[in-house]
């Protein structure tokens, strides 16, 4: 599953640690989500989407494979 977390975060010039603190998760979890190694729970997926002002389906695309995986 492809997601736009890294793209949205870099657009806002945020660090992974800042995003992690805003979402209440660890920096390692943000790294894992961005790389596609971890699929977040539904509440966390909604929290991420809300944080960036997008809908969940805009943030996470189940039809696209993560590049390099």
């Amino acid at each position: 599953m492809r997601n736009r977390v890294r793209e949205q975060r870099t657009q806002r010039e945020m660090s992974q640690a800042e995003l992690a603190a805003s979402l209440g998760v660890s920096r390692q979890t943000v790294i894992s989500i961005e790389s596609g190694r971890y699929l977040p729970s539904l509440p966390l997926a909604f929290a991420i989407a809300r944080f960036f002002g997008l809908t969940v389906d805009k943030m996470f695309d189940p039809d696209e494979e993560e590049a390099g995986t």
Binding site: S26, Q28, T29
Partner: protein, 150 residues
């Protein structure tokens, strides 16, 4: 009581407490090797301090050690525990089987471990809702019996 203890201290204190209880049990046992209880206590305290120091690390192990894990880290811990449970069950089953084949008297602890693991698994299924599963809602208002789709 848990809420009064800082998250980072909880697990190291648990380790220290468990180790102290075991060291006390060893001391109560008496005999010539009573002094080993002191060695056990020192080892446990060093281990608890090391655990406390590692709990400050900015990684998954540190987060788990300091009771500040997020959902991914909790899932990681859960999967690791499940793997540990699998190893325990396989070991216990091997012990029971070998003990049975050899007519050995030492196999009953393996049987107890196997029974406790099985009971814990069934308790988990019961607690987490499998036993309370509701019947399938096949005849809901949106899918009347004999609808054109059937």
């Amino acid at each position: 009581m848990k809420t009064f203890i800082r998250p980072r201290l909880r697990k190291p204190l648990g380790i220290a407490l468990a180790g102290t209880v075991f060291a006390a049990a060893w001391a109560m046992r008496g005999g010539n090797a009573w002094w080993l209880s002191v060695a056990i206590e020192v080892t446990v305290l060093v281990g608890a301090i090391t655990f406390y120091v590692r709990a400050g690390d900015d990684n998954d192990e540190g987060a788990l050690a300091s009771s500040r894990a997020d959902e991914r880290q909790k899932a990681l811990s859960l999967r690791s525990r499940a793997l540990g449970w699998n190893f325990t069950v396989v070991t216990a089953f091997s012990g029971v089987t070998a003990g049975t084949a050899l007519k050995a008297s030492w196999s009953w602890p393996f049987l107890v471990i196997l029974a406790v693991a099985g009971f814990g698994y069934l308790l988990g299924l019961s607690n987490y809702g499998v036993a309370e599963e509701e019947p399938a809602d096949d005849a809901g208002p949106r899918h009347p019996a004999g609808s054109p789709a059937t």
